[in-house]
Symmetry: C2
Subunit: 334 residues, 2 copies
């Protein structure tokens, strides 16, 4: 057994969602039949609705972002009936965009649910996020942090009443211009399994990790934050073909068990290195956005911006994890 | 050595503050001479200014909360000249309230700085927060989470132009009506020391911990979240003399390395138990507010409310860690 602040292993997703719904009843409601989280107030019918999966995404349900998050068990895809229930619950006349992360279980279950919804006459389309730059082959790249920026930007477009094809276009633009990479200093453990998903030596770093506790692509010797920042940013900058003068948005985050002190030291190092490449930092989110339970480590995501993305990124949002209200347009440190 | 996402041990506080100032230049500025963090824009002279210590408090500098945070090295009080520099930098004609946590080093250095500032003709007073209910003797109780609610409530009073004696009165009211308690599932480590501050067995919990990695008052066997919630809430409710029908504010937080999943499960259990006692939950903050580096564990703080405290608690604030803007009065999950 590995100590955690939970009750019976296997119940943790449900109990976490109950906690979120108790704390924020004006933002979300929990459907106990499916463990799905919906907005407290349904969106008007002329706006496209957004559906995504993963327990973490309950934090992004609310005005300006998602309409539904279907949560599977820890590190497991939600089932087809569960995703279908979410699509049916939030569907509007304008249609539904489903945002899928490129994990085989997710892609299979979400696309099946999309097909079943279409067969039932619901207007629904989807995008697949594959931003994890640590994997060379593009079709094998996992969906990680950029997923949350798709929620934010496509969500803002949906609130403005864009058509389904236009919301999909801008979601795909975020995917095409965003990359993410992560490292672990310590592993994590799924409660029901009661053991770590991999083992790491006291001077080792797991490089190029996913978000579900999978081992990375390479094991390296411990190096300092500024050296990690350089390697990680270089990997993204090369893959995206970033050029001097490009405007970018940064997401610098812990992996679930990383204290704020380390997150801000790491942010400092990422930011300084990004600026040393001649890139312009339009803004940043620093905190915990797509994490792996108690794992200590860090992730960096970079999104290349244009005027359209900048406007939608800073448009109002009101969710548990991201609040952009009034004239103060910076996101919360969450 | 214990792996961390930092650079040279001993530089982590400075580099964290640099990261915060790079990310939020419209909220804070860093004085590199003293490692002090000030508001980006100075408060008008008719408002009382608020000064506190601790690296973490840089997250509470900004409109509606602190004017200055003086940061010592990790788990060390800031020095007398450093605190004096902070007081002098933000002092207004209305005066300065210094918020001190009840740790011997802090009390000594902060009260010395207060006396020196008074000798230089600055109007300055202070309060001492001693909310850690795990210690029986009241004068030995450490200052922990309630400190942040003093920042919030006294900060709102200061923005409204209250006199120094009135701001001090309401700060003391928060201290008199607030209690906190914490547990650790794992220890933490100061970077320069390179070792854990205590050792815990795989089925042990350290009960009644401070915020600087000190051992707790008791070592107990591992129990589930809902059982911990009951013991911790009972301890506070008894000490505060809470009665059925009392209105309370909850702060439920991790200790730095606790993932959001566990924080929300623990919140659920605290909230349900608090309500089972007949207490009314006015609102909650859930996140990381007063933490201990990478320690895994949890803290619960409860503040008994009246109409004055409720109003000031939900008044606008705009800091890195707490944002209350416009009509949406819930704090961020930070």
């Amino acid at each position: 057994m590995i100590k955690k602040l939970i009750n019976t292993p296997g119940e943790e997703v449900r109990e976490m969602l109950e906690g979120m719904a108790l704390a924020f009843p004006e933002i979300i409601r929990l459907d106990p039949q499916w463990n799905n989280v919906y907005r407290a107030y349904k969106k008007p019918s002329y706006k496209v609705a957004l559906v995504s999966g993963e327990p973490a995404h309950a934090g992004y349900v609310g005005y300006g972002m998602l309409d539904a998050a279907a949560a599977g068990a820890t590190f497991t895809s939600p089932t087809v009936p569960q995703v279908l229930a979410a699509i049916k619950e939030v569907a509007t006349e304008a249609g539904v965009l489903v945002i899928i992360k490129n994990y085989s279980g997710d892609v299979m279950n979400f696309t099946s649910a999309v097909k079943m919804a279409q067969a039932q006459g619901i207007k629904v389309d989807y995008v697949v996020v594959n931003d994890d730059v640590s994997i060379a082959e593009k079709e094998k790249r996992r969906g990680t942090t950029i997923t949350v920026l798709v929620h934010k930007i496509a969500g803002a477009a949906a609130e403005e009443g864009w058509s389904l094809s236009e919301v999909k276009r801008v979601a795909q633009k975020v995917i095409d211009n965003g990359r993410d990479i992560g490292v672990a200093l310590t592993p994590c453990s799924v409660p029901a399994a009661g053991k770590y998903t991999f083992e790491l030596g006291p001077d080792e770093i797991e490089f190029g990790i996913g978000i579900h506790g999978e081992p990375g692509v390479q094991r390296i010797k411990y190096i300092q934050s500024k050296d990690l920042a350089k390697i990680m940013v270089d990997k993204i900058a090369e893959d995206l073909g970033l050029k001097k003068g490009d405007e970018v948005f940064l997401v610098v985050q812990g992996t679930g068990g990383t204290p704020y002190m380390e997150k801000f030291v790491f942010y400092r190092d990422v930011r300084k290195y990004v600026e040393s490449l001649g890139l312009k930092v339009f803004g940043s989110w620093i905190g915990e956005f797509m994490t792996s339970l108690e794992m200590q480590g860090g992730r960096v995501a970079i999104l290349r911006l244009d005027e359209e993305l900048k406007r939608l990124l800073t448009a109002p949002a009101y969710t548990i994890a991201v609040r952009i209200t009034g004239p103060m347009t910076l996101p919360v440190v969450t």
